[in-house]
């Protein structure tokens, strides 16, 4: 590594109006050379660059710009022979320059907002269409069971179901404990701590078991589906699947949909049991309700309908998570950024749709008296 000499220029004492350049005119000395050129006062009629030791394309560009703005003729610039090839190459390409087109202003932000609002409508139609296509393919699967990708389905069941068991169980157990704590602080005022049992039961069987599971799977599985399928789309693997006469829905989407629809109810059951166990723990250690008594009380007051209401939502949530996860993956367009955008979008869509649907379902079941 040698330190380059700084760029330098001076008027030639022998030739009138001739500028003599020396030193190093490169990218790393570009700022200095701009100052040197800017400091020239006298009128320049020619430039002698033969004294320059080191010259690169940034330096050539500066010299050419300067000589053009000073209105010099092409032959008024003198270079060393070894630099001539570089100068000619740069000279050929350094001319007109289009400005960058990307717009970052407020108007562009407003335009993006408008476009995304418009896109939501299109999204709903596409999602419904995708749902219909999957239903049709599912019906075909019933008639032609050989189309079922059993290995892929079982593999997905392991990934989305079995591997998620510890996470779901831990989170549900903790939430169950928290609900028992919260309930007991209020119920203690009325001396009705034993009602904590009903509170945890109903909360977990009707709502939290399935909701927690669905939200965890929306974050864990919908994003994985989008990223897996999106990466395949970006690498043209989906196109390859199609040209090989295979159906990407059969091959990629249906195994995931089926796996999730089978596993989400099972995980919901695990979440319910873990949540109830959380309640039992808090009852035993904090509220002075021995586990025998807690469980006896549970048997007396638990109703099957709560369990059925909770479990009935599981396949619906599973369908939403799997469909949106896969659909967003199929929407990916070629770039790494697109994979990121679609993954975010699929998690946001699934979590919000799950919560919205759960709220609507709660209202409906309540009014039905179930």
């Amino acid at each position: 590594m040698k330190n380059a000499e700084p760029p330098h220029c001076a008027m030639d004492p022998d030739v009138d109006g001739q500028l003599r350049l020396s030193g190093s005119w490169t990218l790393s000395t570009a700022l200095q050379s701009a100052q040197v050129l800017g400091g020239i006062q006298a009128p320049v009629r020619g430039m002698d660059a033969r004294g320059i030791d080191q010259l690169d394309s940034a330096g050539v560009l500066q010299l050419l710009r300067y000589s053009r703005s000073a209105g010099l003729a092409d032959d008024a610039l003198l270079f060393r022979d070894e630099h001539r090839a570089l100068v000619c190459t740069i000279d050929e390409v350094a001319d007109e320059r289009p400005r960058p087109q990307r717009d970052y202003g407020v108007a562009a932000a407003l335009e993006r907002l408008g476009r995304s609002v418009h896109a939501i409508g299109g999204n709903i139609v596409v999602l419904l269409g995708f749902f219909g296509e999957n239903l049709a393919k599912l019906a075909r699967l019933v008639r032609q069971p050989r189309r079922l990708r059993l290995t892929a389905t079982v593999h997905q069941m392991e990934e989305v179901g079995l591997d998620a068991v510890p996470l779901i169980a831990l989170l549900s157990y903790l939430v169950g404990a928290v609900i028992a704590f919260l309930g007991s602080t209020i119920l203690r005022d009325f001396g009705a701590e034993i009602y904590v049992v009903e509170l945890v039961n109903i909360a977990f069987l009707r709502e939290f078991g399935v909701l927690l599971t669905a939200i965890v799977l929306a974050g864990r599985t919908a994003s994985a589906f989008t990223a897996q399928i999106g990466a395949m789309k970006a690498r043209e693997e989906i196109d390859a699947i199609q040209t090989l006469g295979l159906d990407p829905i059969d091959l990629l989407v249906l195994p995931r949909v089926l796996a999730l629809m089978l596993m989400l109810p099972l995980l919901t059951f695990i979440a319910m049991v873990a949540g109830l166990a959380g309640g039992v723990t808090v009852g035993a250690f904090d509220l002075g309700i021995p586990p025998q008594m807690y469980i006896a009380r549970m048997h007396e007051t638990m109703e099957l309908r709560h369990f059925l209401v909770g479990l009935s939502k599981a396949p619906v949530f599973a369908l939403i998570i799997a469909l949106i996860g896969c659909l967003e993956g199929l929407k990916v367009q070629g770039t790494a950024q697109s994979v990121g955008e679609r993954t975010t979008s699929s998690v946001v869509q699934t979590i919000s749709l799950v919560i919205i649907l759960d709220a609507l379902a709660a209202l409906w079941f309540m009014h039905m008296g179930w």
Binding site: M1, A4, S24, T26, L27, S28, A30, L31, D53, Q54, L55, D56, S57, A58, L61, E82, H83, A85, L86, C88, T89, I90, V93, A94, E96, R97, P98, P100, Q101, R102, Q333, G334, T335, A336, Q337
Partner: protein, 273 residues
Amino acid sequence: MAIPSRDRHDGDELAIRVRGLVNRFGNQTVHEGLDLDVRRGEILGVVGGSGTGKSVLMRSILGLRTPDAGQIEVLGADARADDPAARLHIERNTGVLFQDGALFSSLTVGENVQVPLKEHHPELPERWHYELALLKVKLAGLPADAINKLPSQLSGGMRKRAGLARALALDPPLLFLDEPTAGLDPIGAAAFDRLIKTLQEALGLTVFLITHDLDTLYAICDRVAVLADHKVVATAPLPEIERLDHPWIREYFHGPRARAARGSGERETERQA
């Protein structure tokens, strides 16, 4: 850090010096005591069958992979040292064209070329970054309006040119090309070969060129290094390499494709003369 012009042989004539390089993946040995010299101002073609470790060699020289043993010197700096100054010296003075360009897919071509400029020369005004990027894009033979396009909007050949523009962004004296003509049609490949030769002559570059393309070897390489048996079995100008008695070299340079390439290479030379 200026480009070394072709006549500037100040003491150190070697751009890259590799001694006793060893690379292993588990039980599998890729390089065993590999030596390689790349002289300043030459185009060195690196050939070898699949799996002989051409890309591993390039990645070792670039510091992307830590070899199991051996010395690597790039432009006088020790590539294996943990010294940040040496690393920076190498990074600023090397340009790399990866196989498919490895352009950042979320940035336009112009922004891609400006990435190294902004990183290494933040003191320059933004307008200069833009003008230098535009210059490099045109040097790489792309039309000026390509600068605002995203990599996904370009054809394979244009992506390679855009990758080359990014590799040239800092005017590096040393250029690494990994299969520059793979995936191009013969006309596009020949044009790319000519582009590399022109730029190498104009900018005084040293080029480390990995290739499978016999046409490229015959058209532009000053010397050729042959990788086989875990090391460089020969480094010499093509006519000498062709005469060597090594099973792989014989098969490679005397097969039907080589004869065709040699013919067209000779025609090219005659035409230029």
